[in-house]
Symmetry: D2
Subunit: 374 residues, 4 copies
């Protein structure tokens, strides 16, 4: 006789594992079904920036959501360390968004003003002040916006720590298991079929990243999401050459533990191809070396790519299916899956608990909800 779960989560990346973690903390009995191995794909490929202020525009409804998520990291890091024995390498040494033209500088100064009015720390640094803080930046940098509270974690370690902590709290995980069918009865979800096995549950959450869309098509909805490949590479330097993450219009340079730096990321839409192409590497290198010439002597480590789920309006889809009770969706985090993982896990747990208030990420928002073409 099969176990009956409270919640089945389809997808074992950082979003699925975070949902599993927050549900497990509330004693929900959870099963995570992952078609390959846990904590792979975009969850492992990410540079791990927590750019709540850096990434998200001032008018976006995502901003308060992202700020809340960023604030959750310090306590979460300790909790995950305790439960999973994994240090997620939370570093809170800020992001500097550099300007390379007077236009960019003006734009960033405006953001600084706005964010200060909002009560968030944001400081405009003159060219000289930038150089004092980060002496290795080149003369192409014409000032920068310093966001001291934006930080970073190790994306692969966060993903793994969430999964292992959920497991420590009782969640079950099935790897290398593909969901073939979402089982419904009278417009209510009742479980999933994986090959010849049926797994029953009161709720099912689709947290399959860029692969969520195809899982949902069979249920009569076609979310407006599409995959965007991001290519990255990493190098090592013997001495640390930057302290904060450096963000420019052409990409970012993130200093990781022990002299390692991640340089990313390209944005190539509409492909699931995880290979790294030469043009992507070349454009990343051009920009990185332009901003930090000392990178020329850095030692090559490796290159990789991840496929991130973008949406039509740039907001994630977080909510219950309009036609199938008990079926939830959590995808569309694009470049902010690591940053938003904690608050997404919490919100989805609240939804399943029936405690979630209004929010702007509902999946039946107009016009991004439409009938699937099948």
């Amino acid at each position: 006789m099969k176990k009956h779960y409270d919640v089945i989560i389809v997808g074992g990346g950082v979003i699925g594992s975070s949902i599993a973690f927050y549900l497990s903390k509330r004693n929900y009995h959870v099963l995570v079904v992952e078609k390959e191995a846990l904590a792979q794909k975009a969850s492992r490929a990410a540079a791990g920036m927590l750019g709540a202020q850096n990434e998200i525009g001032e008018n976006s409804p995502l901003l308060p959501f992202a700020l809340k998520s960023r604030a959750m990291f310090p306590a979460l890091a300790e909790e995950l360390q305790f439960l999973s024995n994994i240090n997620i390498e939370l570093i809170q040494s800020g992001i500097i968004k550099v300007a390379q033209s007077e236009e960019e500088a003006a734009h960033l100064r405006a953001i600084a003003s706005f964010q200060e009015r909002l009560g968030e720390k944001a400081e405009w640094l003159t060219t000289m002040q930038v150089k004092e803080r980060e002496p290795e930046l080149s003369e192409v940098v014409q000032g920068g916006l310093y966001l001291p509270n934006d930080g970073q974690v190790s994306a692969p370690l966060l993903s793994k720590a969430l999964a292992q902590s959920a497991a420590a709290l009782g969640a079950d995980f099935l790897e290398y298991t593909e969901v073939q069918e979402l089982i419904q009865e009278n417009n209510r979800i009742s479980g999933v079929r994986t090959g010849t096995d049926i797994h029953l549950a009161d709720h099912v959450v689709i947290a399959g990243g860029a692969w969520s869309k195809q899982i949902l098509e069979r249920t009569g909805i076609s979310l407006e999401t599409y995959p965007v490949k991001g290519e990255c590479f990493s190098v090592n330097t013997h001495k640390r050459i930057i302290t904060s993450s450096i963000f420019s219009s052409g990409g970012y340079i993130v200093p990781k533990s022990g002299g390692r730096l991640i340089i990313g990321a390209t944005e190539k839409p509409d492909t699931f191809d995880e290979s790294v192409q030469l043009d992507g590497l070349y454009s990343l290198m051009t920009q990185a070396v332009n901003i930090i010439p000392a990178l020329k002597n850095a030692k090559w480590e490796k290159a990789w790519a991840g496929i991130r789920p973008q949406t039509g309006d740039g907001l994630p889809y977080l909510g219950e299916h309009p036609h199938v009770a008990g079926l939830f969706v959590a995808t569309g985090h694009y470049r902010n899956g690591i940053l938003l993982a904690p608050v997404t896990g919490l919100l989805m747990a609240d939804m399943i608990d029936g405690k979630a208030g209004d929010h702007p990420f509902s999946i039946n928002r107009i016009p991004y909800m439409k009938e699937a073409n099948i």
Copy 2:
């Protein structure tokens, strides 16, 4: 306006690529759609033995099919070298199936007699003769069946060479593209949908290995196939320690190019999990060291696993769908996908050409054809 293909092949492993190759030789315009990268999974994991006589029982309808395929390799190797610049490392130095008990010896002697009657070379070697031929075999070996015409190739190179040769002849390939839907009109296949793209074709061949079953379920048939994990490892020795591949009841030891040896393979049914487990390695090592003690000093290289498609009656499914005209299936090759790739490619091309005669691998054979449970 989308191209209209003659044939779309779903799956870019050794079987799909071989079908693409033989169709391209006949000027069919072919598209291969592969959900990840080409030439991976079981096609890459295989040890590459061409065990037509070794693997296949005397009463099996697979035996003449396998013998025919084995005979195709020498000419195919030259053709692939020419087209793709890849040497598939065809080695025709035989397989010795060793006995470890009097019962096994009696059984193998009977096979030798049968195969000789059949006109195939097969020689019973006494313990002393075995030792003369392969001095490193230990005293647990009590004679063996020598099959001089069974050989081996590099499985990853064969898979890659078939794909690249098909490409050189004009076949198109889409990697990292998953088929979401088989499109039918009036019980006739008309193409496939991959995400938001539609690809049209007169014929579609499902050659997805162990993943074929789930692609087909939507068409109303449920093939009786199941995945079987096989774990392997490889070592290196400075000097060659065996000349022929050694096959025992507990696994095989295959001497590859340049002192490398592949030891395989376990058989773990009903899982798509591609990780290697300690119990699998341990049992392979126990058997290998028992038969060739000198392996103790061999240098560890790496371990891996592949997921092979087994069927209810042990025969592959090769044929047209009973309800959907133009839709073909080629799967279920289990441990013999490398050996059978050439003849399978040829047979499928013949079927699409309308030239194939009767054969025992039709997919509507009783009782392995049943209605899908959806």
Copy 3:
């Protein structure tokens, strides 16, 4: 004009880097010369156990030295995190030395008594108590000695953190640079030659692990040290299966961050060959699966080997050269290089400071000092 260093350290492993770190803290100007890359070889291969009580016999002069080193880790971990941004993954969850026979049990109970008299925590656990603490241990375990204060770190991260922290404090590092000659004037060291470059210094420390002996031979002494290969492998489990490190007469099983376990290590003397051989893996697996049967299902990760410097009497050589003033040696740590790195760094800094008291690791102890055969 070349810089004149206070100290040149030959060898950039965990010992050389620790010495560089402690000297840099005292404002010595240090150059580390490493013939390959930093933090490799035995320093990277180690499982990272801090087995002060576990590894070292009761009568050994090494015991108080090791206890002191173990006690340095908590403060050191914080200091390295601050300077290098590297978390060395210090875990203080104890070692259990399991008995597999009544003889072993009696022996371990005697050690428990001795260590308690010494004031060190050491607790004899009955079979039932062992199983309560570590339920996955099998019935071959007949009680065990629990050493709650023995812990572990990540060996590669400790090695890297020491090097990077020394660099942050001003130490220079030359990688891929082999010392060809130790330069002396009037029986006093004055520097080293590396290819065509001369580097001058008041003191030189040979911290080349198993390779120290050959560097020293040209100076007229032949230390009685020899290389001992240790082979290891690692696996992953989804849930943690043990909490403490498990030590048996046949090897150890160390639970690392996030469900990873390191199983080690063989002892193969008199070889610098860093390859892993099948017999080594096989014996490690046999023992590990015997003690923790659940390891059978663990996922294979990888195998590796390190070459450790053992000495004639099992004690390290730490001290000044008998004939060449200013030339120091720090090698011979065998299986305890990670544990002893902090105290070794401190002692060598004290020696160079002229503050070190008497200790039993002098390199001119009888009879292990002899004339080199050149």
Copy 4:
């Protein structure tokens, strides 16, 4: 009692292994001593071009030597296949040396004339002819010198095949064994010391690549050689985009088996550092994409570096030591070690046989021979 060898070869790269192979064919009893693993370093890093006409200037005494070596490859490939079961992937599809300016074009046309006078095939291709032959070359290419008889092999496979073939013929190999001392008696070599072991031989050949110089310094000679790092990377394309190797003033692009391309190589003198730096990759990419724009879409594979031995006058050192009878040297092949391996092996075997005639590579040529500084 130790074996007494005819010849000990110090270095197990492509040169050392070739010498071992040619000596073993003449029934010399040979021992190869390699300080790490066989067939590594520059021998594995090379792109494998056989650029006898491409690399070597018209007045160089190296030219006839290189032409002779190139001519040895077809028969050698078959011999190595037979002895070692390794296909060295000899491809004889020519090199095109492209011009990017009128000056370069004029220079290359002059070379074409010279080589034709010499009797070697060399054809000047106009811009249009180049594009016909290699349609993917960009408009920066202004004609090119086509050398149809220059080819390529797999450098790692050639190195391995030579070693394994020598082993098959009876040569012994010691890996991970460093020669500490060259043993002489009365100005005649008698063997080598490796740690505590003595290996005796009538002849010793130093074939240690860029590391040869330091081995020889103890014998009173200081060869004028220095290490030059070369960085490379490789990519994959699904279809073959070039047929010949493309050589430009900024590097080369070599099409290997199965759609793989190697792009190389930088030239960074005076370092043994085998890491790849960002500036090296960046300059290689710039040049490669400039010449073949389609490379932008190629898939990244990996990057690596090798340390090659260059000499003061650009000629290798091949000959007997001026002061120590029986001690030979074979190094300084710089970028042509793969090409020159066969003829070097043959010449060194002839020298040891006492059959070698005059040649311009003697190690006591003026002024590159000087007294060692020790």
